[in-house]
């Protein structure tokens, strides 16, 4: 019981220890076995004793009958009395009583009054029939089992047994003093043996159990440690029993586990290495790509910047020419000058757009929470005059959320989309631009839908390219340089989203800006709002 419980702290606490239970069981077994066998032995000895007692009593009875025949034949009470007293001197005789043949007491000598009273109570009144019996009767009764009462007939010495006269009876109680002592000794012995057996069996059992449980606990600890991969404690491997077998199989399992673990570790390591390699490769590729993009943007920026200087000069010179010499130049020359100025202006603005586009990518500005609803409402407000002139109805259908983006870029996106929709509306029967949003699991969609002429499927990808416009009839005669949607796409992609176009010729177009929902700062997902700002 002195096992170190601290080692098993990770085990479920054992409420009924095996050791304790076995000990109790062994104790019970010892008590029952030893007790039962001793009791049986006691019974055996007791019955043996009783038999001896009975035999002795009968023998003494016969002898007494001979003793008392003479005085009875001669009807000499004094002699009878003397004999009686002589017999009763023996302390083993509880009482002696001589009766005549009618059962009347002639004389008696009582040493043990209790026994005699008891005898009288049973046989003196109720057992009249037994009194005339001609055979010795052994009466097994009495509160004391060591006592026997014998009633023996006394016959006259003349004649054969059949013709002899019944003179009377002698009744005596015989107590065997050894009997009682023997039985008591036996009892004491039984208790003593049981106690000794218990005393011996407890430590032996404990010792045996310890021998059994200690290796068991070690194995148990080992099994617990298997999972953690620690070094195993000493195991009872050499035992040639079930425990040894268990220990060996635990060791074997530990080996298998360790092997599996090391294999797993190796696999993990190689996997990690692979991941590291791939990550490094990816990083390198990313870096190259970033560098490339940076170079490209820088190139674009430089080109448009350097291109603008001579253009500026051309424009300036043309204006100065017109201003200074306009009056003295012939009409034809003035017209050419105007054309130069117009072309320069067109190219100039294209370069401006290119610069703007490259700025989106190189200098996006800083993100802040932008209330899209407010922003779009503001744009509609700003375009109110233009929209009104064209008879276009423009409204926000849902309460747009607040998103974390660059304010100027967001403005550019929606200004471009709404402006585009208005520009290409033409003379449609219904002229409406609707802005709404929808929230998917991870994406926020903001749609700008118009009832314009629509864009042919073949043109739908081209509209997002720089300096490309749809080739539909509806676009001709519309002032525009075809860079707006390209910059819109650049912005939306910069936000990590995408812009898609759904359009049907003759029905209308819907530009859908989809950006990651993670950019939403707050979303009012209530019912469609009526705060149309057109």
């Amino acid at each position: 019981m002195s096992e170190r419980d601290g080692d098993n702290s990770n085990l479920v606490p054992i409420r009924h220890r095996l050791q304790f239970r076995v000990l109790l069981l062994v104790l019970a077994m010892v008590v029952v076995t030893v007790g039962t066998s001793n009791l049986m032995l006691e019974r055996l000895i007791e019955s043996q004793l009783e038999e001896t007692l009975a035999r002795e009593t009968v023998r003494i009875g016969g002898h007494l009958a001979d003793e008392f025949r003479q005085p009875l034949e001669h009807r000499n009470p004094t002699a009878l009395r003397d004999r009686l007293d002589a017999v009763a001197i023996d302390s083993a005789v509880a009482f002696v009583q001589v009766e005549d043949r009618f059962g009347a007491s002639l004389s008696q000598h009582v040493n043990n009054e209790d026994l005699y009273q008891h005898y009288l109570k049973r046989f003196g009144e109720h057992e009249q029939a037994a009194l005339t019996q001609s055979l010795p009767t052994l009466l097994n009764y009495a509160p004391a089992p060591e006592a026997r009462v014998l009633r023996t007939p006394i016959f006259s010495s003349t004649g054969a047994a059949g013709g002899a006269d019944l003179l009377g009876h002698v009744t005596f109680a015989f107590i065997d003093p050894v009997h009682r002592a023997t039985v008591q000794r036996m009892r004491a012995l039984v208790i003593g043996v049981v106690c000794v057996a218990c005393l011996i069996s407890v430590p032996i059992t404990a010792l045996l159990m310890r021998r059994l449980t200690r290796p068991l606990r070690r194995i148990m600890r080992a099994v617990t440690m298997l999972a953690s991969g620690e070094r195993l404690p000493h195991l009872p491997l050499r035992r040639n029993d079930e425990l040894g077998l268990l220990a060996r199989s635990v060791l074997e399992t530990a080996g298998t586990l360790a092997q599996a673990r090391s294999e797993l570790l190796r696999a993990n390591e190689s996997l990690e290495q692979q991941v590291d390699e791939r990550t490094a490769a990816l990083n390198a590729a990313n870096h190259r790509l970033e560098l490339e993009i940076e170079t490209k943007n820088e190139f674009l920026r430089t080109v448009s910047h350097d291109l603008s200087a001579p253009l500026r000069n051309i424009a300036g010179m043309t204006t100065m020419l017109q201003r200074r010499f306009g009056d003295s130049l012939p009409e034809e020359a003035r017209h050419r000058l105007e054309r130069i100025a117009a072309n320069v202006e067109l190219e100039s603005s294209m370069l401006d757009d290119l610069l703007e586009l490259s700025r989106i990518r190189t200098r996006p500005g800083e993100c802040e929470p932008v209330d899209l609803h407010e922003l779009v409402a503001g744009i509609i407000q700003a375009l109110e005059h233009e929209l009104g002139e064209r008879g276009i109805e423009c409204g926000i259908e849902t309460t747009l959320p607040t998103v974390h983006v660059e304010r100027n870029l967001a403005r550019q996106v929606f200004l471009n989309l709404i402006d585009n929709a208005a520009k290409y509306m033409g003379q449609r029967p219904t002229r409406r631009i609707t802005i709404s949003h929808a929230l998917e699991k991870r994406t926020l969609h903001v749609s700008v839908a118009d009832t314009g002429p629509g864009i042919a499927a073949s043109d739908q990808q081209r509209v997002f390219q720089v300096f490309r416009r749809g080739s539909e009839a509806g676009t001709t005669g519309v002032p525009g340089r075809g860079i707006g949607l390209a910059s819109v796409r650049a912005v939306v992609e910069h936000w990590g989203g995408e812009i898609t176009l759904q359009s049907e010729v003759g029905v209308g177009s819907t530009f859908k800006v989809s950006i990651p929902a993670s950019r939403i700062v707050s979303a009012d997902l209530g019912s469609p709002a009526n705060r149309s700002a057109a």
């Binding site: 603008s308 500026r312 000069n313 424009a315 300036g316 204006t319 100065m320 100025a341």
Partner: protein, 155 residues
């Protein structure tokens, strides 16, 4: 080297134009001359030339102190920023109005120019009318209005 006429009369306002683009210089000169004011324009072809003119070094010993410097930023040799630093480091030129006029329209360039001591920052916008208006406005302000302000150091 410097081009244009130097050593004009003191009563005229003097503008020094530092820009490596001859066509742009011509344009600015045209714009200023078209104002019809008594303004004399001097031109320097790059930063080094400008610094020599302002500090009256060598052949520029007798160059006049300008009332306004129109300074380009992107130039070979010493660029506009260096000119600004050198001008502000010279105690005689500390109060000289220097307006930066450049094709660079990013915030960083503007911040840098202003912190280096530029009096004002103007972009060479592509709209010709607008650009001419800017040049004219700068010329008029710095050569007339600014000169009359109390505390302004007149040449």
């Amino acid at each position: 080297m410097s081009t244009g006429t130097r050593g004009g009369k003191v009563s005229e306002a003097v503008i020094l134009l530092v820009d490596d683009d001859p066509d742009y210089r011509m344009l600015v000169r045209d714009a200023i001359e078209s104002l019809g004011r008594p303004i004399k324009v001097f031109e320097c072809v790059d930063g080094c030339d400008g610094i020599r003119f302002l500090q009256r070094v060598g052949s520029d010993k007798s160059s006049p102190r300008p009332d306004l410097v129109l300074l380009d930023l992107e130039m070979p040799g010493a660029d506009g920023h260096e000119v600004l630093v050198r001008v502000r480091a010279d105690h005689r030129l500390r109060d000289l109005p220097v307006v930066v006029m450049t094709g660079l329209d990013d915030d960083e360039s503007e911040r840098r120019a202003l912190s280096n001591g530029a009096s004002s920052y103007t972009c060479k916008v592509r709209d010709t009318q607008d650009m001419l208006r800017r040049i004219e406005a700068a010329a008029v302000y710095w050569t007339t209005v600014h000169r009359q302000l109390p505390g302004a150091s007149a040449a």
